[in-house]
């Protein structure tokens, strides 16, 4: 530790002083001018809470929100991966119409702000589908069943299932455009000789793609896909706008009812940070192990 301190140049000290000075100033502003009363001791209650009536601990709003964010991110990623792979394949298709359609979809999603996309998808698609398939009443039925704990583990409160599904759907559609581009880059990075090798042993276009090109392409794009997964977790905050009860939405509610503005948002930020930073560290570790092996 001391050795490390000795290595610092006077310029490093200056930079550190400026940074600390800046945060000190902000703190001083909050303390002095805003007259903000910190009530950190209330926060743990909104993560875990002891139910005096039932005499047990239960996850309160913030943790519920985090769980919903994780669920939504996982389902949306799986769906986005499937849609994105199809989109990526379509982008490399020999058929011009398919290529154009894929391109159109992609350009629309890339050149419209995510929030707008999400509102459009939500009102036009999710709402329609949920009514069409009668998901609402189906989910209420589940919520009354004995086996509901399985469903609740997978999807959280089943009464909120329609909104969760809309969130997953909308987020997946949005992210699939980016996954599609990653997959396309992967497919195009596979050497032309691989396709010729596959064709020379009589494979048709589907077999060539399925057994030769895609396995190599997907293996190559795992690192950017992992990054996209982390981006998706962060992007999931915007679906709070369509009332999906994930972490950001729950924080908004908490702030509205308790006025714990800084405490709640800082906790929310910490949750996102730990989740995303943890995953990115994990992926980096896996990636290093992967390269060390091959």
């Amino acid at each position: 530790m001391l050795n490390w301190l000795k290595k610092l140049h006077w310029l490093d000290w200056l930079v550190l002083a400026v940074v600390f000075g800046f945060f000190g100033f902000i703190w001083w502003q909050i303390e002095g001018n805003l007259n903000y009363k910190w009530r950190w001791h209330l926060i743990p209650n909104y993560i875990f809470r002891y139910h005096t009536g039932r005499e047990e601990w239960f996850a309160n709003v913030l943790l519920q929100g985090l769980a919903a964010t994780i669920r939504i991110s996982i389902y949306a990623s799986i769906l986005a991966l499937i849609l994105g792979t199809i989109l990526g394949i379509a982008r490399c298709s020999a058929n011009l119409t398919i290529r154009m359609l894929a391109r159109t979809y992609l350009e629309f999603l890339r050149n419209i702000p995510p929030v707008v996309v999400i509102f459009i998808f939500f009102f036009f698609l999710s709402q329609q589908l949920i009514t069409a398939f009668n998901i609402e009443s189906w989910a209420r039925g589940i919520a009354r069943q004995d086996s509901k704990w399985v469903w609740e583990f997978l999807f959280g409160d089943m009464r909120r299932f329609p909104s969760l599904i809309s969130g997953v759907f909308v987020l997946a559609l949005f992210e699939s455009a980016f996954v599609g581009e990653i997959v396309r880059a992967g497919i195009q990075s596979v050497d032309k000789g691989q396709r010729e090798g596959a064709r020379s042993i009589g494979m048709n276009r589907y077999q060539e793609l399925r057994y030769i090109v895609l396995p190599q392409a997907l293996r190559r794009v795992i690192p950017p896909l992992a990054n996209q997964f982390i981006t998706l977790i962060k992007d999931s905050a915007i679906i709070s706008l369509i009332s999906v009860q994930e972490l950001t939405f729950k924080t908004v509610e908490l702030v509205a009812s308790t006025r714990l503005i800084f405490e709640a948002w800082i906790t929310c930020a910490a949750f996102y940070f730990v989740l995303c930073f943890g995953l990115s560290a994990l992926f980096r570790k896996l990636e290093n192990r992967g390269t060390a092996r091959s």
Binding site: R199, G202, M203
Partner: protein, 248 residues
């Protein structure tokens, strides 16, 4: 080696890449069991010629018949044809995500719908034939260039093809590995396989070729038996080319 019906027949075939005239009025045929070696300077159309045979490229005019089936773009028979015609590439084109054994079995299993046991048995037989039975479980990247090319040959053999095409199979190899590949090819020639080989390995050509073909600028300039081809070629261009590559 004489007699036998033509298994590959080019009839006034032309091929263009945009404005570039890659094959000019090619008419030539290969009999069943014949070993044909094609040589010529780079850019002379040798590779294009043999890539037309299994439909990796398609000619623009003229008629090309392989194993009794006409080859043209959009033909429904191309996939069947490719099962009958094996190809070995300059860059091996092995599948790096599969082990050697899987490289050999994926064709028979997915294309010919063979069972895994049968495919593996065939694969091991041909790995034996190319003298690397011990490498079956490794990935191609762990093998030397010569070994990889021999796996590529075995991969084509596993499809039980009746015709084998070789597109400069030794050009990407380090010199000390060329012979191990050529030896396998000579052994293959001894089994009576129909072979069309693009190569500059004239020692190999002398040993196995029934017919020598010299190409230049998209044309077939000379077709002759090896004896005559190497001692007394008719065209000056062919003679000049041979002098150039044989002078070392």
């Amino acid at each position: 080696m004489t007699g036998g019906t033509p298994i590959i027949a080019f009839d006034n075939v032309d091929k263009f890449y945009g404005d570039f005239h890659a094959l000019k009025d090619i008419s030539i045929s290969v009999r069943e069991g014949e070993r044909m070696v094609i040589c010529g300077p780079s850019g002379s159309g040798k590779s294009t010629l043999i890539r037309c045979i299994n439909g990796l490229e398609f000619h623009n005019s003229g008629v090309l018949t392989v194993d009794g089936v006409e080859v043209y773009e959009g033909s429904k028979n191309i996939l069947n044809l490719r099962q009958e015609v094996g190809m070995v590439f300059q860059q091996f084109n092995l599948f790096p995500h599969l082990t050697v054994l899987e490289n050999l079995t994926i064709g028979p299993m997915k294309v010919r719908k063979a069972s895994r046991e049968d495919a593996e048995e065939t694969a091991r037989k041909y790995l034996d034939r190319v003298h690397i039975p011990e490498q079956a479980e490794k990935y191609p990247s762990a093998l030397s260039g010569g070994q990889q090319q021999r796996v590529a040959i075995a991969r084509s053999l596993c499809m039980e093809s009746r015709i084998m095409l070789f597109d400069e199979p030794t050009s990407a190899l380090d010199p000390e590995m060329i012979n191990e590949v050529l030896d396998v090819m000579v052994e293959l020639a001894d089994t009576g396989m129909t072979m069309v080989v693009v190569t500059h390995e004239m020692g190999f050509a002398r040993k196995v070729a029934d017919t020598m073909v010299f190409m230049e600028e998209g044309r077939i300039v000379e077709v002759a038996e090896p004896e005559k081809f190497f001692t007394n070629p008719e065209s000056d261009r062919c003679r000049a080319f041979l002098e150039q590559i044989l002078e070392h």
